[in-house]
Each structure stands twice: as structure tokens, then as C-alpha cells.
């Protein structure tokens, strides 16, 4: 036997192992009760356990002649043993392991098991460790904190040289194992520190991350001064403070639960906060104080860990910088400011740094974030958005895309988000106590945005059906804006949705968001729970559920936005909240409601007695009579009132007054890059077809089109289109030319088909190049009054004109139309009758064949 045994004599009259352990635990418990169960108490307890092991080793030593060392590894190696921690041991032989050595191991482990220890033991021959165990990352990491306990010290010294020596082959694999385990562990916690019931050992930013930082620094900077950057004081102090805090909480949890449990549940938070004597008169206040300290430490640790990982794995490539904007440059560390003095005086330019980071696919540099943290408090929220260009930049930044969550998180961590929107600061680390929520209110909010952004990732493979819906939206940033404020009302215990709407008013006003967009954002915030209630709390097979939701949302765009917001919101509650089952229920409700809105809306017409008419009559301008309001509205689909505001209704009433049979009246306006056209005329064949044709003739790209009529046979056609060639902008007489041609075509003075002939030939040639599935689908179920035809196909010049012309040629009346263009795809829904009735099956057959020909579906079928 060659061990150099530390003093651990066994003699008669000495206390038993159980008595020693009991006494050690009693001492530890006494310290924990005084809330002093931190690093020193853990160290003292570890030392007592060392003694216990040395005594057991002494009793087992006679079993083998092979030199052997007993080594503490992992948390025990660090002397961080908590009251009910496992004991991690390495039993290291300098020679072959045979029957005698196995007897030695048993003699060592059996007493430990008898004492009730959970032992994580590793048995190795020294020669096995000449190569790093790259297939065992946990072991690689555990031996970083190794400590000789008993046996042959020379064996341990050789082990130490192999593992920690300057020529060690273990170093790089251990760094990789650390980073890999860290990523795996963080992924398990959804990669956020803001856990409502955190595991103080494993959660991101908690105890194990402190250990990981120390290990990374030790492995990557052996023997030199450590230099991991931290904005919160010196590295060692920051780590020590956090570690002490986490260890004391952990020890209280072990004391309370009498087992190795490290999750700080809501109930535990109350008990721990009371033990700590946290400020606050009530339990809730005390818990918030405790958790704010917890999140303070985890934020610091997360930041240091990120820096330590970057230091351990510096980005490959030259350390050059390049300009990526005015006063902004990209370097290896991320995006930063060129001239910080200038940046400090121009807070409105800071957003450019975050936009550049998204564009470049890199972070904002730690230095730039620290700069923003130092300077943001000097500015008011208004000073970040002095004009509409900053508003536009911010809304552009909010477009869902990969990197948005990370940049918003940086804004939040640096205090910028709270400075720009003090309303958001009200939910800073706000704890929501319920069974489902796993994260603080602010982090939940940012995670909703991450979930939505994941749908915009072209490489993502999950939830593609929802991703397609997102891709169809023209203003997806409005969902992000709504998500940003949807839970700010949770600072109070009142109806949080209404409170959130109230609080969002200020930010939306400061940002100078257009009124229509404000209405959409407020709608989404106010009703952000409605769709999940309908999907999961109502009978999904009851048609009334979709009907009610259709009434609530009104339009397809709002439905799509509410659906995506709901999806992102549910997913951000906890890692397992959005099950495929729930996703299916939500999708089914979306489809049912979408069909209700697009196929079934024709039967719901405005009736004389309804309250919306009464309101419009009551608030009408003086030159419009009550009778004119009623006459105009009656018979129009309810959808009309969901599409337009009161001002537009009155404008349409003015256009419809004293309308001659051949007269066409219109209004033309422009918002951003989209033009709006309202056409009011008396009903006649081919009106819709002709308007489409005229717009096509002038090269307009039709985004939306809707046609409807009232009981007075007045037709209202509403179009939104993009003037891609800037015809209206560059030609002063453009609007009047468009009006004149429209008038001539509608009255039959001009034959549009001949005018479009040349262009149509070019379009036919183009049609073959665009690969979009075409379809023609007839529905007789959704509407009692109409045959509804859905037509989808490649969005090409003149498509609408061709379709509507085919329908008219078959003698069908186009009573209602709903057109939407989504990128390369056009989706058109026509409500048709012939001689006032639905189409017969024979009529359908004939019409289908010609429509398929018009959209190219027949070609594809062949």
C-alpha cells in the first residue's frame, strides 16, 4: 500500500460514521436557518464529509495493493456540497483493475450508500486518462474541479498533470464540452434567464453558469490575469456575490424539502423571501424584492458567460471593421459607434445600430450596449422619436425576422427599451403567479416576438402553415407592436387587456403611428385572449364559434394577425404550452373563421334597425340626411362597415347621391405606397370586370378589390393597388385620364378588350414562367344566396379582368368580390348568381372549364 494517508485514525470510542454525518448536517442546518448557508457553510460541510471519506478510505485501503487515489470532482471538488447534494468521486488506480480493486471500490461505496449518500462514482486507471474522454462531456467538465481526498498523492499529482498541466490534451475538449453542455442546458430552459420558478442550480444565469464561467476562464487563460469583461464591477466580486446568493437559496431549499431539490417555486419564494427578511409589507412585495435580486444576478452572470464564451471561441477571421451606416461600424465584437461623442448627443440614431445588427446578422457590441446603458437615462422617450423617419425606422425594425428577439433583448438589457417606452418598464421582471406562466411578463413579451420571428425564418421547418399566413401580411410589424404592449397592463391586477390598450396609447401617439394602424394595434391588444378562448374553451365544432369570431375580427387581415399573435402568445407561456394538439385547434378555428369571412359574409347584410346605422345617422354631416344614410347602407354586406370608417361611409354617400344611370364617380387617394380607389355607380353588367381592366391598362398592381351593392342598386367597388410605374405621380393629368377612361368603358364608349389585346399576349407569355398552383373551387354550402367561387393562381397582369370577363360572359352576376394578392399568388373569391339564383351544377361545369382555362389551371392539370 503506497497511499500517503491524511490523518483519519479509527479508534475505539470514536463516533460512528452516521454520528459524524448527523453532527455535520446539524451544524450546516443551523447555519442555513440563520440564512448563512452560503459558500463558507458549504465549504465547512464539505470538509466534514472529506473527513468521513478519509476514514472510510482508511478502512477500505487494505483491500488492494495497487496505488490508488480518491479524488473529489464536480460540486464536491469545488467544496460546494449542499445539504442533500450528490457526492461525485473519482477512484483512480495506477494499475490494472482486478478483483482486489473491485473489493476496494465496494468497501468504499457501501458505507456511503448505507449513510444514504447518492454517489456519482467514476473508476479509472491512470493510463486511461492519457487521452481525453471526448465522448463523456459531463466527466470532462467534472474533473475541472478535482481535489485530492485520500490515498496515494503521487497518483493524484500525475492525474493533475494529465488534466491540468500545460501540455494537457484535455483542455480544448473540455472547453468544447462546457460550451456544448451550456447550450443544451440553456435550450432546456428556453434560453432565458427570466424563469418564474427558476432552478437555482441549472437555470440560465444561475449557479452552474457561475461555475462554467470560472471553468472557462481557468481553461482558456491559465496562469494569467483573468480578463472577462463585466460592466458590473470586478469579475471575481460579481461571481462571488451571485454564487453566495444562489448557494444560500439552494441551501434553504434543501433544508425545506429534505432532498436535492433546487427549483425555487412560488411557495418557496415566499418562504425564502421571509427568511431573507426581504423588504415589503406583504408576501408579494417581499417575493418581488427577492426575485429582482435574483434577476439582477442572473443578468450579470449571463452577460459575463456570453463574454467568456466569445473569449474562449473568438470569431474566426480578421479583426477588421467596416462602416455599415452613418457613425456605425461592424467589427468582430458586433455593431458599434464610430464617434461616441456624436452618438451620445444623438439618441435618435441609436436604433440604426440595432437595425444594422439585424441586417448584418450579428449582435450589438458589448461596448455599444454599455455606452447606451450609460447615456440613455439622460433622454426622454420623445427624444428617441422626434420625427416620422424614426417612427418608420422603428416600425421597420419590428418586422418579424431572425435576430429581432435578440436585438430587442439587448435593448431591454441595456435599458433602452424601457427608456423609449416607460410603459414597458412597468412590467420589468414582473412575476405572474399562475400554473402556466414560466417567465416574467417582460421576458414573456419578448419571447412572443421571438416565436413570431421564427415563423419568418426561411430555413425554419416548423409551423409552415402559420408561416405562410405571416408571409401574406403587408404590415406584420403591427403584430410585433401589439405584442410589445399586449401585457404591459399586467403591472396591475385589473383587466390587463384594457389596461394594456390604455397604456399603449402613449407609445403609439409618440411614434406617430397612422390612425388605421393604431386601430389595428389596439384591436389586437384588446382582444389578444379572445382567439385562444374561442379555440380552447369553446366547442370547435360549433359553427357559431367561428361566426362570432368572424364578427369580432371583421376582415381577413385582422384574423390573420390575431391568429399569429395568439400562436406566439401561447407558445411564450412555457416551453410545452403550445402542443401540436392546440396548434391544430387554433388552425381549425382560423380556417373556419377565414371561410366564414370570405365565403359566408354575403348573407349578412346591413338591416334598417341596426345600431351602427343609428350611430352613423346620429353623427352624420349636416348636408347628409338620415334617409340618405339608411338608403345607402341597407342591403350592403355587414363587411362594408368593418372595412371603412365613418368618414369614408359619408364620402361614399356623397358620391352616390343623384347618380345618373351612366355616371361613374370615384375617389382616389394614396397612403404610403398604396393607392385606394372607390368607384360608385349604378349596377350594370361587367362593372367590376371593366374597373379591373382599366386599372390593368394603366399598369396598376391590384392588391385588394371588393365589390358590393345596396338595395338601391348602387355598386361600390373598393380597390387598393400599387402604382408600380408611378403613372399617377408623374402625370399631373393621370387621375383625370383614369377617371375618363373608366367612364368611357363603363358607358360602352370604349372597347377595353381591344385596348388590352397587345398586353394580354405578353401576359400569356409570362404566365408560363410563373410556377404557382392554380385552382378553381365552387362552394354551395357557405352562403344561402350565392354560389361562391374561389380562384387562386399566379398573380399576373390582367388576371382579374380575364376572370371577371369569363364570369360575365357566362351570364352570371358578380354580386360580391373579394380579391387579395399575396406576393406571386392571387386569391379571388366571387359571390355569383344567375337570374337571381345560385348556379346549377351544369352552369358550374361550364363556367369551371372556362375559368380554369383563364387562370391556367387546366394547363397544369394536363
Amino acid at each position: 500500500m503506497t497511499t500517503e494517508q491524511p490523518a483519519a485514525d479509527v479508534s475505539v470510542g470514536e463516533p460512528s460514521l452516521a454520528e459524524i454525518l448527523s453532527a455535520a448536517r446539524d451544524e450546516y442546518r443551523a447555519e442555513i436557518r440563520l440564512v448563512r448557508g452560503g459558500a463558507q457553510a458549504a465549504k465547512d460541510y464539505s470538509t466534514r464529509i472529506d473527513g468521513l471519506l478519509q476514514r472510510i478510505h482508511a478502512e477500505a485501503a487494505s483491500q488492494t495493493e495497487t496505488p490508488v487515489a480518491l479524488v473529489a470532482i464536480g460540486g464536491y471538488g469545488r467544496r460546494h456540497l449542499c445539504l442533500h447534494s450528490d457526492i461525485d468521486l473519482l477512484i483512480l488506480f495506477d494499475g490494472p483493475i482486478a478483483a482486489a480493486e473491485e473489493r476496494f471500490v465496494k468497501a468504499l461505496l457501501h458505507p456511503l450508500w448505507d449513510l444514504g449518500f447518492e454517489v456519482g462514482h467514476q473508476v479509472r486507471q491512470l493510463s486511461e486518462l492519457e487521452q481525453a474522454e471526448t465522448d463523456n462531456p459531463e466527466f470532462l467538465v467534472a474533473v475541472v474541479d478535482s481535489r485530492f481526498l485520500a490515498g496515494d498523492a503521487r497518483v493524484c499529482a500525475r492525474f493533475d498533470t494529465l488534466i491540468h498541466g500545460p501540455e494537457s490534451v484535455w483542455r480544448q475538449p473540455t472547453v468544447e464540452a462546457l460550451v456544448g453542455l451550456f447550450a443544451e442546458r440553456h435550450h432546456h430552459f428556453n434560453a432565458t434567464i427570466y424563469q418564474l420558478e427558476p432552478d437555482v442550480k441549472e437555470a440560465p444565469g444561475a449557479l452552474r453558469d457561475v461555475v462554467a464561467i470560472r471553468a472557462l476562464v481557468a481553461l482558456t487563460q491559465p496562469g494569467t490575469a483573468r480578463s472577462v469583461p463585466t460592466t458590473s464591477g470586478r469579475l471575481d466580486e460579481a461571481l462571488d456575490e451571485a454564487e453566495e446568493f444562489f448557494l444560500r437559496i439552494r441551501s434553504l431549499l434543501h433544508l425545506q424539502h429534505r432532498r436535492n431539490l433546487n427549483t425555487l417555486s412560488h411557495d418557496d419564494q415566499e418562504a425564502v423571501a421571509e427568511r431573507f427578511g426581504s423588504p415589503g409589507g406583504e408576501a408579494r412585495g417581499q417575493v418581488e424584492a427577492l426575485m429582482s435580486v435574483y434577476f439582477h444576478h442572473t443578468r450579470i452572470i449571463a452577460r459575463i458567460l456570453a463574454a467568456a464564451i466569445t473569449e474562449a471561441n473568438p470569431p474566426i477571421g480578421p479583426g477588421t471593421t467596416k462602416p455599415v451606416g452613418d457613425n456605425i461600424r461592424a467589427s468582430r465584437d458586433g455593431i458599434g459607434f464610430v464617434d461616441t461623442v456624436r452618438a451620445s448627443l444623438q439618441p435618435r440614431t441609436w436604433l440604426h445600430a440595432f437595425q444594422a445588427a439585424i441586417d448584418e446578422g450579428c449582435p450589438v457590441s458589448p461596448e455599444a450596449l454599455a455606452f447606451i446603458e450609460r447615456h440613455s437615462d439622460r433622454y426622454t422617450s420623445e427624444e428617441f422619436f422626434p420625427g416620422t423617419s424614426e417612427r418608420d425606422l422603428f416600425l421597420h425594425l419590428l418586422t418579424p425576422k431572425p435576430g429581432l428577439y435578440e436585438r430587442l433583448s439587448e435593448m431591454h438589457e441595456s435599458g433602452l427599451l424601457g427608456r423609449m417606452f416607460p410603459e414597458f418598464r412597468k412590467i420589468y421582471c414582473r412575476v405572474i403567479r399562475d400554473f402556466y406562466h414560466k417567465y416574467t411578463a417582460d421576458e414573456h413579451t419578448l419571447l412572443t416576438i421571438r416565436n413570431l420571428s421564427e415563423l419568418a425564418d426561411p430555413n425554419a421547418t416548423r409551423r409552415r402553415r402559420f408561416a405562410r399566413v405571416l408571409a401574406e401580411l403587408r404590415h406584420p410589424e403591427l403584430i410585433v407592436l401589439a405584442l410589445l404592449f399586449h401585457d404591459v397592463g399586467k403591472w396591475t391586477n385589473r383587466n390587463h387587456a384594457e389596461e394594456s390598450v390604455r397604456m399603449a396609447e402613449g407609445p403609439l401617439r409618440r411614434l406617430q403611428v397612422p390612425p388605421e394602424s393604431i386601430r389595428t394595434v389596439e384591436f389586437l391588444i384588446r382582444h389578444h385572449l379572445q382567439m385562444s378562448v374561442a379555440a380552447f374553451r369553446r366547442d370547435s365544432e360549433d359553427p357559431e364559434v367561428a361566426r362570432q369570431l368572424a364578427r369580432l375580427v371583421g376582415t381577413e387581415d385582422r384574423l390573420k394577425m390575431l391568429c399569429l399573435l395568439t400562436l406566439a402568445d401561447i407558445q411564450a407561456v412555457g416551453p410545452d404550452t403550445l402542443t401540436p394538439w392546440k396548434e391544430d385547434l387554433l388552425w381549425r378555428l382560423y380556417v373556419d373563421t377565414y371561410n366564414r369571412i370570405t365565403l359566408g359574409y354575403g348573407d349578412e347584410v346591413i338591416a334598417s334597425g341596426q345600431s351602427s346605422i343609428a350611430q352613423l345617422r346620429a353623427h352624420r354631416p349636416p348636408e347628409i340626411s338620415e334617409r340618405q344614410v339608411s338608403d345607402f347602407l341597407e342591403g350592403l354586406p355587414q363587411r362594408y362597415l368593418r372595412l371603412v370608417g365613418p368618414g369614408t361611409v359619408y364620402a361614399h354617400i356623397r358620391l352616390s347621391r343623384d347618380l345618373e344611370p351612366d355616371e361613374v364617380r370615384l375617389t382616389l387617394d394614396k397612403h404610403d405606397d398604396v393607392c385606394g380607389l372607390s368607384v360608385v355607380t349604378k349596377d350594370r353588367p361587367r362593372i367590376f370586370s371593366n374597373v379591373c381592366g382599366v386599372l390593368s391598362y394603366f399598369g396598376m398592381d391590384i392588391l385588394r378589390g371588393q365589390a358590393m351593392s345596396n338595395r338601391q342598386n348602387v355598386v361600390i367597388d373598393l380597390f387598393r393597388f400599387v402604382d408600380a410605374d408611378r403613372f399617377l405621380e408623374l402625370n399631373e393629368s393621370g387621375p383625370s385620364e383614369l377617371t375618363r377612361l373608366l367612364q368611357d368603358v363603363v358607358t360602352g364608349n370604349v372597347e377595353l378588350t381591344a385596348m388590352l389585346k397587345g398586353r394580354d399576349a405578353a401576359a400569356r407569355a409570362q404566365r408560363g414562367k410563373i410556377r404557382v398552383d392554380s385552382l378553381v373551387h365552387f362552394d354551395h354550402h357557405y352562403s344561402d344566396r350565392y354560389t361562391v367561387v374561389e380562384i387562386g393562381g399566379a398573380n399576373q397582369w390582367g388576371l382579374l379582368y380575364r376572370i371577371s370577363r369569363v364570369i360575365s360572359q357566362h351570364g352570371c352576376d358578380i354580386d360580391l368580390v373579394l380579391i387579395s394578392t399575396e406576393g406571386d399568388r392571387a386569391i379571388d373569391v366571387f359571390h355569383l348568381t344567375r337570374n337571381g339564383a345560385k348556379l346549377s351544377r351544369d352552369m358550374e361545369q361550364d363556367l369551371r372549364a372556362d375559368l380554369e382555362q383563364a387562370v391556367g389551371a387546366a394547363d397544369e392539370a394536363r
Binding site: F536, R537, R538, D539, S540, E541, T579, W581, K582, D584, L585, R588, V591, D592, Y594, N595, L775, V776, H777, D779, E790, I791, G792, I827
Partner: protein, 110 residues
């Protein structure tokens, strides 16, 4: 003891849970499931394309109850989960041979 297994509409789970609580049914397991009964799903249309919805979302509630309570528990489930429409679900009753508490190893009387 009997294992009562009920397949119900998702929106009926809370009502059934509350009804069972009134009968002091202690533990229960609720699972999100998909399936079909005689209704065999249906076809749906989205943007002109038809697709089959063969498996419908349902909730499965499982509770172990004493023999003498089985009828009352079934009545409670039936009365709360019924809408009268196709797709209300089913209740199954299965004999339980043995029941053990995993933590304590205690064998419950069956």
C-alpha cells in the same frame, strides 16, 4: 375499483372536472388526444383546396373510483359532457387490479 375513462369535447373538460370534484374524486389524468368515433371526421376547405380532417381533437379524462361510486361518476360525466350533437364522446369503465403509490409503495385497497 374501476378506471373510468372518458373521451369528451375539449371545451367540456372543466365542467367534467368540476362535476367529478363534487363527488370527491381525488386524482385524475387529463390528456390531449385526437381520434374519431362514428362521425369519422370530415373534409374542410381552405382557399379552395379540400383536405380531410379525419382525427378530431378531444380530451381524455381518466380517474380511478371506488366501485360504489362508478354509476354516479358516469352520470356526472354524461350530464356535463353531453350537448346532444354528434361527437360528444364516450365513457369506458375498466376494472383495476391493483393500485400503488410510487413514492411510498403503499398498496391501495381495490
Amino acid at each position: 375499483m374501476k378506471l373510468v375513462k372518458a373521451i369528451v369535447r375539449p371545451n367540456k373538460v372543466d365542467e367534467v372536472k368540476d362535476a367529478l370534484a363534487a363527488y370527491n374524486v381525488g386524482g385524475m389524468t387529463v390528456t390531449e388526444v385526437r381520434g374519431h368515433g362514428r362521425q369519422r371526421g370530415h373534409s374542410a376547405v381552405y382557399r379552395g383546396r379540400e383536405y380531410e380532417v379525419s382525427l378530431l381533437p378531444k380530451m381524455k379524462i381518466e380517474a380511478v373510483v371506488p366501485d360504489e361510486m362508478v354509476e354516479e361518476v358516469i352520470d356526472a360525466i354524461m350530464s356535463t359532457a353531453r350537448t346532444g350533437e354528434i361527437g360528444d364522446g364516450r365513457v369506458f369503465v375498466i376494472p383495476v387490479e391493483e393500485s400503488r403509490n410510487i413514492r411510498t409503495g403503499e398498496l391501495d385497497a381495490v
